[in-house]
Symmetry: D2
Subunit: 438 residues, 4 copies
């Protein structure tokens, strides 16, 4: 077994600022040892086969309060920053971090960085904001971002200057792929300078597509909101002759939101995701299959992830966060379906709904609320123990430390051969392949 | 007083098929006499002044069950049609009519016309559907339209042929301005042919802009849903530097939805409605006022009715329902604000939400549910009594019969000098006039 | 007509502190004159008959901003108190009053009285709280009471001493029957002492049973919440053999909540209200009728207002607010139905839901939110104009001033011969009379 | 490794009716082999330690479609039964099973057993009901139980007679501990008789306390609903002087609902669960700690699981399902707190909410909806493959087959030394021990 545990396919060793010599003030004496590790559950938790075949399996350091910590709470000042687009639960994580620092460790100086990394660049004149349990008491009941957010990078040396000058000892970075790349660069710069500042990431992606993270906060809330839009689109489709409801959901590189929402709502006839290519034209293409469906049943419901069908567009460069600019597949489908119906003499209409801003700006639902609270608490435990360059991840009801570098190698994708996609195909009844040539 | 009551500014006399000679089977012997009349409450219920000045006031025939009815329930067959766009409560009204016919009067033959007036044109091959209490038991819990709807007219003689051939004695028409025009034409054609078919309208407009109707069903639900979008837009606006949330709501000729939603949500800084013109440019135009607000406060929330600011567009003709095609004020504002901020070197962003399809396709809320039940019951009472060419209206907790011709003369508008708009101005703090020249 | 207007059945003349000599700073110059009056719409808005018969009709002074006001804003200090049980919208009214005083009139000193009239009794040591627009910005999103509430009276001279000592010029009293009696006593004591303090009431009753008030805030929200409980009880009833769902709703002396909720939900088979007596036993009593229903259909849903069936209990005295202590009709019905079924060998079960605390503590829905905003604004206009001893009421889309003494004579009741109860009987199909002897 | 996998602490081998010789008609050729196994993730997924120490770990057979199946779809008839109390998602599971049988395997004869095991006892005269995709199309949108449910056992031989006579080949049993015990007895009787009938369980417990099941359906929905009650109780507590909100939630033997709801809502000061004993009296008992909290902060919120504090009651026997009858801890706390406050001269009030019927009868939320769909599909795959005497369980994003006997040995409990309880203690700030003697 020992061998199995050491032969890792990816780097799972977490960086730290040094040995922990301060006894933890943690009230409930249930500590987690650095040696506790959690098997990585892979795509579907089926590590057993690897174990039986004596193949290496991956495990990560368990998150949790350490008996000894690195930072003396009395002398510690922490800061929290969140970047990128809105995501349900942002405020919950901020609140959980503030409460954890205050009540669990007695760290009384916590700063909120305004508007993402921009708030770490003095040139933009955004003063940090004092965060206390009183100040954050009710923020989890609000959607949006209490701290404010922004997209795009800021000069790393400038940001580290700010942290150093402000005497920040732990920086909590809540954000997605771009943010985590930034956090890693900040971590490297800190290391280079020999500063004793811990950088702890909390992964944020409403698409749920960060590698090595079975789940990210806000996803469950987003799916719940998306279901409402699907219901409305279904009502629109059935309320008119040959009506087509079309809903574009988030999912730049992965179709998790679209797949889950379609499964939950139960009326979708087509789910289009980035991981599964499809053609519009041809006898097996979407337009023909859709036309047949509508002629037979009088209506149809299509759910499309924003990153689906991008081969139908020319390359459009990248946005401020460094993400590939996407063609608007919702508008394209709306227009192409309308034109196709017209050409075929099928009187019908497409009702197109793009609910993105509505989905991402609502408060976290209770499930995400609990999850965010755990994420925040574990982030605090990691930071106080001097862990750095890591993010808090979760699977199988437990929380782990994952090196940021390991998580940002590439995105997580929906597996077209896995249980989730299979369930979608069963639920929709859509053809497995909608391509010009079989 | 008698004089006062007779000197009416508008026609309030309701047409009927003939004297009522069949005793009503109505179980609760609380009948309404044709002579009962209800004062019209005008814009704000202030008829007192007219009374004091001995000026004529308007009253309408009270709705309610009559002691004697025109149609013998055993030999009566009724049909229900709904037309135009979706509106919360459509199914509730259908259900209430079916239940009222069955349980109150014992009329067991009720037909549902599929897809609006199209279902009365045999050329389209849409068979009517049997409606029973069992079939409609749960439809009020669904949004959309159980019967299906469509826009646009069908040939009136053809529709009346269908009614005659199918032996329909009461036609319930649920719909807006276009539908009611159609219902009036059907009524006139029936009269011309000397048929004994009653035509009873139930006014439907999510905009709440039908004349002589203090309230229309679905409006309250729509406002409630719109509030959710405003909350999201506010979260988007505050979650980013210099963020502007922009929500386009329904309201082709009137700003009732926009005004109520803004009042209920409480964060809007600008409400733009068709009844109050505004300029974009100039020192007192929207763009400059908005820029100032955003520079001072960091964010702003704009609510715009779809029919506002139409003078900014060229004339675009009319759609299938005969409604004026509107320029897309939401997209125009989004683009113009973005360009203005860019030109002024103000780094910010506009988050634009167009929730129309989401708002109109949800189930009716409890308040609208109760209202729809009353509308349906009163429509049944009117139809069974042989009243025709009328619609069911409501004000001051009572229901009345209004001749369709009187209600479709023109649309109802929000009064820029009334209580509602005053409350909006107080709540938003927006300037009373945003025009190029004062 | 003049004669008609003067011959009033009840006192409609509003007291005031004196002539208004301060020009209003109101920004939108749309003032309401004291001479504007609004006809009282009675039970069903059918004043026409009275007019025709030359009988006296009642009208009230229209609410709204006056061109001249009594208090100089710069020297005015106001206080707000809310008493009695929780009611959705309490916080909305407080917020609207604060904003109206600040932004419309420039009154910057507004105090919140803590925990009802208790906060006006220095013996209890409850300091008043500073209210600013910033402090009340988001309180309308929360249920409960921001100020805190309490039941029961405090010594009137002590309370007036407090108002005088604190230099309060306008006291806004939000509350129900007991609170309004208290407000009237305060008003009389102020008058007796010759103080210049205005007392303005905002009627609060979730039961919607205050005389001369067509609608009170929170009622619509309460009905919406009650509908959820009815849905659950219906699910419980149908999910088991011979299941009876039983829901007790608020309504001490009136069945408005029960009637509306039953109409909105649509599954209730029995609605029991204080205004309509019923027997349990006997061939026409509830138990037998219910048993028959359950044997035929397998389940039943009963909605009972808390004040219904009180003749089944001995007299139990009065509570702290002076209200009659009610027997628990929900528990009685649950037990009696269970015993009856057992005695008759009918295997079934009663699922009893008492959702009162859940219903009354939620935030106001958008409809109530708008209504509260108007109430608050009109209360401010009345107070600034020196009106006193009045409450703000509303009907037919307008707002009026009603002398408190007129409103607290007795409670408003549901009319068993009116449209609402008729609709309930039609919707439930319950017998009109469930009495031991016909 | 092989050794590790075989040395199991509990029985993990699933019974089956015989070898699978019918090729599966499954359309998407992604089959799961019987040899695929999933490691059991234990309390917190930390199997790594056992692996490192070469200790035995537990794994279960992976659920999923098999390449060969046992039953020929053309000749297969299946039945579905659900028993016990209502639980969100009951209808979703039924729907998923029906759809899976029809669309995935072409099994067209599916029967619904009415009112639990009672429907398998002909003496009660409850005919089975035909289940088709059309019949179950929308049932997932309703709470309650479409099939009806009941508590308590029926004679096992009689039930097996019914299955045999009706030619049922697969029986799907949805239910909790009692139901699963019944399913196991049915399975043993079938085995004894040598019948070829598969028995597949879907575990149902809103308490989430079935052993070897990381999650059961309805739990997430229940937590979400419970949060609403906590919000209301908090509003009640803060809205009055020295107010105590008290909410009793489900959890007969485990505190999962109470713990999650308290974490999600964020205002609870005390969470009382069956797994953690507490005293009422004494200087460290609940009453004194609560009094101190209320005196300091003016209000408090208590969440209590129904099975907590049972040592405060005498033993009361067992109910129809064989469950221990519980003392009503909610009522006891309400009364004892009230008496304690009175005795201490603390004027305050306890607002007690028991929302159980409201929580369990709502429709499943989207998260549970997706989960139920997977459960139903996997149950169908297991049944068609002739697996029997098993239930479908899930952890770590995958689904497994667990022998019923292994799951019903005892209940799953919240670990007072685990992450969940630790998070609760941190969130509430309540003392770790509230006992008479430390």
């Amino acid at each position: 077994m020992q061998t199995v545990m050491l032969e890792m396919a990816i780097d799972t060793s977490v960086d730290s600022l040094g040995p922990c010599r301060v006894p933890s003030p943690y009230r409930y004496q249930r500590f987690t040892a650095d040696s506790e590790r959690v098997l990585y559950d892979g795509d579907a938790g089926r590590v057993s086969e690897r174990l039986r075949a004596a193949l290496p399996v991956t495990s990560f350091e368990a998150a949790g309060p350490r008996a000894d910590i690195f930072f003396d709470p009395a002398n510690t000042k922490a800061a929290i920053v969140n970047c990128g687009g809105l995501c349900p639960g942002l405020n919950d994580v901020v609140r959980a971090i503030v409460n954890g620092l205050y009540f669990t460790y007695g760290v009384k100086r916590v700063k909120g960085v305004r508007y993402g990394y921009a708030g770490l660049n003095p040139a933009l004149g955004l003063a940090m904001q004092e965060l206390t349990p009183e100040a954050v008491k009710d923020i989890h009941q609000d959607g949006g971002s209490f701290l404010g957010s922004s997209r795009g990078p800021q000069p790393v040396p400038v940001m580290v200057d700010t942290l150093d000058r402000e005497d920040i000892r732990i920086l909590f970075c809540i954000g997605g792929d771009g943010t985590l790349h930034g956090a890693e660069e900040i971590h490297q710069e800190i290391k280079k300078r020999g500063l004793r500042i811990s950088v702890v990431g909390v992964p944020k992606t409403i698409d749920n597509d960060i590698l090595l993270c079975a789940r990210t906060f806000g996803f469950d809330t987003a799916v719940g909101e998306a279901v409402e839009s699907l219901r409305c689109a279904h009502a629109e489709a059935t309320g008119t002759m040959n009506g087509v409801g079309l809903v574009k959901l988030m999912g730049r590189e992965s179709g998790f939101v679209a797949a889950h929402a379609a499964l939950a709502e139960g009326d979708a006839n087509f789910v289009l995701v980035p991981e599964v290519p499809f053609a519009l034209e041809g006898p097996r293409g979407l337009l023909q299959v859709l036309e047949t469906r509508v002629r037979n049943r009088g209506h149809a419901l299509i759910v499309v992830a924003e990153g689906a069908g991008q081969s139908l567009f020319p390359d459009s460069g990248r946005d401020a966060s460094g993400n590939k600019k996407l063609g608007d597949i919702g508008v394209l489908l709306r227009d192409r379906i309308g034109a196709h119906f017209k050409a075929r003499g099928l009187e019908g209409s497409v009702k197109y709904i793009d609910p993105s801003y509505i989905i991402r700006s609502v408060p976290a639902n209770p499930n995400d609320g609990v999850f965010c609270q755990f994420l925040g608490q574990q982030a605090v435990h990691a930071g106080m123990a001097g862990k750095t360059g890591l993010l808090i991840s979760s699977w199988a009801n437990t929380f782990v430390h994952v090196p940021i570098t390991s998580a940002i190698q590439r995105r997580k994708h929906l597996n077209p051969d896995g249980d989730l996609w299979r369930a979608v195909l069963e639920s929709t009844g859509q053809p497995e392949h909608m391509l010009e040539t079989p």
